[in-house]
């Protein structure tokens, strides 16, 4: 790419530059001894062609929409259409959440994203002892198809795309969604959306696991198989680095561990007899966007290039769609501060720019009050407006991958790819992601980075505005959203009514059939769909699977 003959000349001018800056900094030292990226990697004062000597445009980048997709998965990216502005929302009852979704759609949100409460995510009905105090708190409570019907009331499922953050019981919630579609007269092949369905990162970082690894992987590959035939427009998994990053990982770890999880899912599906180009086009990813704008942009580009190579070279994919890393982004919850919460609007703006300059397919922007409580309606609107302003006013969407070719960006992209690949190689040596989770390797690496981050803040090596510098005296924040404890009581009462009014013999029959299927090798999706349609509850269905599969035991370590 560069004229090799001119590099020695450049080298000597760089040496002169280094001498000059050294003279200067001897007199007046720089602000820091070492300048570090958001992830703690040293950053040099200047980048030149010497940092990317091997750079070859066609091999490293290619055109947007072409292998290795460094510059983006579509040829024209946001000139065609902006990313999907998808605000993650859900709290209290299905009725309340339904109102919030309609509000978001009115305000220009282009896709729905459902947050479920913890009991739902862990497969407990609202009347379970362990659900006490948790019902409707971090998301909406769904006990049965009844709740799901209310949740999507008046929202035509052939018109919206819906993302559901659900993992261990993803099959059950997907079954309910299919059933709601059917009641609306929308066939499964018209449904568009995503289930998170990524159990490995639950073991690593997010914690809403239920079953052990093996049956969990079976449920996931059953979904891949079922959807490839019946729900072809559905993204069957969202392989998530988001929570890995929130748990404290670096940017390179986020890419390395996420793609290692991705490799495990591909291997599981191949082992189950699926063909790579049958299911791989429906794999999707989910990344975080933190404050270090340039490092984040490089991260997204590195992830795309590395995944394309893995799919092509390691798994022999032939369909270009199998090689494209499509991803959703959420801004970094852990970067937001409880102190001076309005400052978070600015952080989210930077993170939005990073996601957009990094070529995201959809984006959730966090609200300013998320370090304090669930977001209020006003805060959500500002967060959505942030995306709209970046999309329509900032100009960064006019040209595809506008930062490409920057010495810094390309050097950083190479570096993150290289570091991520080193993690993947290490995990391969351990025997794959599930083993590297069981023995705690991945969790330990993340925790080391998280602890270093905290120490850097406490030693003031890392400035967090409002936290360790520029503090002010503040009163308690106003206007926070609160979820009433009566939500739990209301859900419990509805469960009593449901169980009195449904056909309990039919429920029993479908649950017995499901149990038999769990013991065998049939695809479980049709059995689960039968059960949800007769209003078996999420807890009942999950309990059948708990009885057969057992429960995951966490490797507890600090």
């Amino acid at each position: 790419m560069f004229d090799k003959d001119k590099l020695p000349q450049l080298k000597s001018s760089l040496e002169k530059y280094d001498e000059l800056t050294k003279k200067m900094t001897d007199k007046r030292p720089e602000r820091k001894d070492v300048f570090k990226s958001g992830s703690g990697d040293p950053v040099k004062n200047v980048y030149t062609p010497l940092d990317i000597e091997e750079f070859d445009y066609s091999e490293s980048l290619g055109m947007p929409g072409s292998y290795p997709y460094t510059r983006g998965v579509q040829p024209n990216m946001y000139r065609g259409k902006l990313w999907t502005m998808r605000m993650y929302a859900g709290f209290a009852t299905a009725e309340e959440s339904n109102k919030r979704y309609k509000y978001l759609v009115e305000q220009g949100s282009s896709g729905l994203s459902v947050a479920f409460d913890l009991p739902t995510q862990i497969g407990y009905d609202s009347d379970h002892a362990l659900a006490e105090g948790e019902v409707g708190k971090v998301g909406v409570a769904i006990d049965s198809l009844k709740d799901m019907e209310v949740l999507f009331d008046g929202i035509p499922l052939d018109k919206v795309s819906t993302s559901m953050t659900i993992n261990a019981p993803a099959s059950v919630l997907l079954a309910m969604y299919i059933a709601v579609g059917e009641k609306q007269g929308v066939s499964a092949d018209q449904l568009r959306g995503t289930i998170q369905n990524d159990i490995l990162k639950e073991y690593i970082a997010r914690g809403t696991y239920i079953f052990p690894t093996e049956p969990s992987m079976r449920l996931i590959t059953d979904i891949f198989e079922y959807c490839s035939k019946e729900v072809p427009q559905w993204n069957t998994i969202s392989i998530s680095g988001y929570h890995i990053r929130e748990a404290g990982s670096t940017a390179a770890q986020e890419v390395g561990f996420t793609l290692a999880d991705g490799i495990a899912y591909v291997e599981a599906a191949l082992k189950a007899g699926l063909k790579v180009d049958e299911f791989a086009p429906r794999l999707s990813f989910f990344f975080n966007s933190h404050n270090d704008l340039l490092e984040e942009v490089a991260k997204f580009r590195a992830a795309r290039r590395l995944w394309a190579k893995i799919m092509k070279e390691r798994f022999g994919a032939e369909n270009p769609k199998s090689m494209m890393l499509k991803f959703h982004t959420q801004t970094g919850g852990s970067t937001l501060t409880a102190q001076q919460p309005d400052n978070n609007i600015i952080r989210v703006t930077i993170q939005t720019l990073a996601a957009v300059l990094g070529g995201t397919q959809s984006l959730h922007t966090n609200s300013r009050d998320e370090a304090l409580a669930l977001p209020s309606e006003d805060s959500v609107r500002i967060a959505l407006r942030t995306q709209q302003i970046v999309g329509h006013e900032s100009g960064v969407t006019n040209s595809v991958d506008p930062l490409a070719g920057s010495y810094f960006i390309e050097a950083m992209t190479d570096k993150i790819e290289e570091e991520a690949l080193a993690y993947i190689t290490k995990i391969d040596e351990i025997g794959g992601a599930p083993k590297a989770i069981d023995n705690g390797y991945i969790q330990q690496e993340i925790m080391d980075a998280a602890y270093q981050y905290q120490k850097d803040i406490e030693s003031n090596d890392r400035v967090v505005v409002g936290v360790n510098q520029y503090q002010i005296k503040e009163g308690p924040p106003k206007g926070l959203l609160r979820v009433d404890l009566s939500v739990g009581e209301q859900q419990k009462k509805q469960l009593v009514d449901l169980k009195a009014s449904r056909d309990n013999d039919a429920v029993e029959k479908t649950l017995v059939a499901l149990k038999t299927a769990c013991h065998g090798t049939d695809n479980l999706m049709p059995y689960i769909i039968d059960a949800v349609k007769v209003y078996a509850t999420l807890g009942e269905i999950t309990q059948v699977m708990r009885d057969v599969f057992g429960e995951y035991q966490q490797n507890v370590m600090i």
Binding site: E134, G207, T208, T337, L372, A373, E458, P476, V556
Partner: protein, 131 residues
């Protein structure tokens, strides 16, 4: 005290966010304390039983799910019932300022909200633990 302070770092409820719990656990350990971490999804009963069995001086509970008003007072009530109120009970996490007075009234000795330096928690424990 002639032995290091023993702390049970606990995750009550269904919340899976354990970054804070683990960071605090490491910080307390680096400050010379002995730390036992419960892992996720512990009921108040399990936490209090573990605290008594492990003979700890401190319970440090981390909760970010919004279930603090239900779960934390239950832990202090159980400590009272087990005659173990000399165990210092502190909590941290995403807990709105407005909820703190009620928690303090119900026996939680301190609540540390996001952004609190670990040194503040360490100091509080050192100054308030049973002597």
């Amino acid at each position: 005290m002639d032995r290091p302070i023993r702390v049970l770092v606990a995750k009550p409820g269904l919340d899976g966010h354990d970054r804070g719990a683990k960071v605090i656990a490491r910080a307390l350990r680096d400050a010379g304390m002995e730390v036992i971490y419960t892992g996720l999804r512990q009921t108040p009963e399990q936490i209090v039983n573990a605290a008594i069995q492990e003979d700890v001086d401190v319970i440090a509970a981390s909760i970010l799910s919004g279930a603090h008003a239900t779960l934390l007072p239950r832990i202090s009530a159980l400590l009272k019932k087990e005659d173990a109120e000399d165990i210092l009970f502190v909590a941290g996490g995403v807990i709105p300022e407005d909820d703190i007075p009620e928690l303090i009234e119900k026996g939680i000795k301190a609540v540390f909200t996001p952004g609190t330096p670990t040194t503040v928690t360490v100091k509080f424990i050192e100054e308030n633990v049973r002597k």
